[in-house]
Amino acid sequence: MSCQFCSLKGSCGLATNEATPQAAVPPRWYMVGTPNTGKTSLINAIAGSTLEIGNWSGTTLEVAHAQAHLACGRVELIDLPGAYTLAGSAPDEEALLPALNADREAMVVNVVDATNLTRDLTLTLELAELEIPMVVALNLVDQAEKQGIRVDTEDLSARLGVPVVTVKANLGHGVGDLVTAASRAGRGAARVAYPAAIEASIGRLLPHAASRWHAIAALTGEFEGAVEGALETTSGATRGAQAAVGQQAHAHGGSNAAVALPVMAGASAGATGSLAARAAGERANLLAAGIDAFLDVVEARHRLAHALSGGATRPLDASDHPGDRVDQLLLHPVVGPFALLGGLALTFHLTFALSSPWVDFLGVVQGVLAGWADALPLPDLLSSFLSGAVIEGVGTVVAFVPVLFTLYALLGFLENAGLLARVAYLADGLMRRLGLPGRAVLPMVLSLGCTVPAVQATKMLEQPRDRLRVALALPSIPCGARLPVFVLLTAAFVPQYAGLTLTALYVGGFLASILTAVLFRGVFRGESATGMMELPAYRLPPFRLVFRLAWIRTKAFLTSAGGPILLVVTLVWALLAFELPSGVSLFEAVARSLAPLFAPIGLEDWRVVGALIPGMIAKEVMIGSMALTFAMGTDTASSLGFLAGLQDVAIGLWDAVRGTLTGLWGSVLATDVPDGALAGRLAGTLPLASALSLMAFSLLYVPCMATLAAIRKAFGARYAVLSAVYQLGLAYLAGLVLFQLFR
């Protein structure tokens, strides 16, 4: 049975020998299963510390993968996107089949949810038709038993013809059994009995198909369906990350994965074409005889899956699940929206409560380090470079870490607990009226905290087109870093209407964001999302996995955004540090030469224009820049002694710990009112129209380098450039309109 696999490999003698089963274990294990079955948990349990996240070759799809050194050798574990069928009825599922097709050294670990046995076994039967070595990992057995579902794994294994192992993915139980079973991985003996006419058609197609599954999928017309929903946003830009995922996808390098779909390694495109043509003919003949091949195939698979599961499905009227009662409350038409708002507010509150004390602490450390650098006996330029470029740059990057880690962890928590799907359910009606899918509500709310994880969160949208347009819409929503800038500007220029103006800025930001998303819906081609979605059972999230993934994502941010941010910080430092022969700083010269560009929107003051440049690194940097140019003098740490510095760091650490604990209860959104002195000095420097224009511009132009880096990572460099150009244009337009209106 296993000879076909190893004959391809050329190491046949060993693999068929039962005495040395290790040799038969394929080097790449693909985790396949329906969503929320614990595939990632299982990889984490097998090979925890090597877990990584990368983009699927040539696509923007994210997959977790890991290396494991097992008794049977080195194995690469790849977490394929959750799928209900192999044919791919949603965009992410379309990566599944090409991956399995292209890899001859693949083994499938089919993770099956014991509480949903019949449906999950339908996928198992499809996988068996694909004729790839397979092991079934039965997860969530304890929960199934609580629901009165008992699974006889030995019986199931005998009937399926593949090893069936019980695992507790989140606790790592059963991993040893799974590894042992891998050497017995089989191609499956369970064969779905289709109606005679369909079997005859399959028999005629089989010589032209790569596997029984391919013949059936061609017959039911599922290939066309998969190609129809081809991904639009794939580009070569994500190729950097593809190496990390492995070489499984050489067959379709940077090209559209869905188009490469029917091409089995070794089978020529011509043969596939003839398969599709023959299948269309067979389908037409069946239809003429009154047989709908697709429905009959689905029905036959379901019947066998049902029989295999021993009819172990939950009876319909069993409404005693605790989850049902939670749903009755959370999804109630009146209570639900309030619960949703409360939940989102709580998420938001926790993000700031848990992260802002640590951002402050990092600020203290940065100040102390800068003070020490200044005190070093070095030439002025060098010590200024150390404190102004190196420490400032690294500090700017590291300051993102607490916010990002907290938001990623919360997001993972919500997703794994089954709460995200409920958010989508409650928001879908309202969001759809705004021309957005319901799931877009979460990235948009996260964006109030930080745009970077929000861009990452667009991955949860079903359609690639929606991901892209929502990601491009996010920068207009005012993030946490823009709040202090607004507080300063409103205090300086419209002190009597500060609250009103602040509210207007937030409303304006959201409106601009929604308009952007609607605008780009017309620009990008692609399907719109369907409203169909599973509401998964409530579950206690696997905390260790959630934290590990949050840390992996934060690390990925540091490596991808760190470089660009450091570069721009160094550039701004150089502008400030060097002087023209006339005694004017380069910064002033550049700002003055840019000022005429901003005259039409009322910003002629070079100091204001100058502040907008470093504002592209991160918005809060604008404040420091204005403090500097409005002759406030630098507020950087006075050169502290070594011990005094250490003491400051210790106090900062204590404050951070205390702040984290107290912040959980207290209010955290009380932004430090920026020093009144700066507001006072700014007041009167700009007329009202110019001030409003400045606020609108700060609201809408490129939020920070990190956001651009996040967009580049998720969608490719050209969309990062598009976002930058679009936000600058939008900001300029808004400034222009406001300035002309209020002049």
């Binding site: 209900y84 359910y425 309202l430 369907t530």
Partner: protein
């Protein structure tokens, strides 16, 4: 919108779209119709002909329908639910709304 009329209507027609059912009512799926993309997705999610299903709720602001299909909970927009042709169980315990009409 008037409860009485709705239940009479449901009893009158043997088959109806799933979007016409009210909360708590159970039914058996007879066939799926509509765009192939949507039908395929419904089947993939576990909504096949002969599946027993029950409407559990409706989201606010014209939002999707929450339903149970076999052992899974799904959300489906009303427009998509209209393509799910069902045969409501009038005598089912779940359809408490219908019983008082007797």
């Amino acid at each position: 919108m008037v409860p009485n009329l709705e239940s009479i209507e449901t009893r009158g027609c043997e088959l109806c779209g799933l979007d016409a059912m009210h909360c708590g009512q159970a039914a058996r799926v007879v066939r799926l119709q509509g765009a192939p993309r949507i039908v395929r997705r419904l089947i993939a999610l576990g909504m096949r002909p002969s599946t027993e299903c029950q409407v559990l709720g409706r989201a606010p602001h014209g939002g999707p329908i929450h339903l149970r299909a076999g052992s899974v909970h799904l959300m489906v927009r009303a427009s998509e639910a209209a393509g799910i042709v069902v045969e409501p169980h009038v005598d089912a315990v779940e359809s408490g709304h219908v019983l008082p009409v007797l």
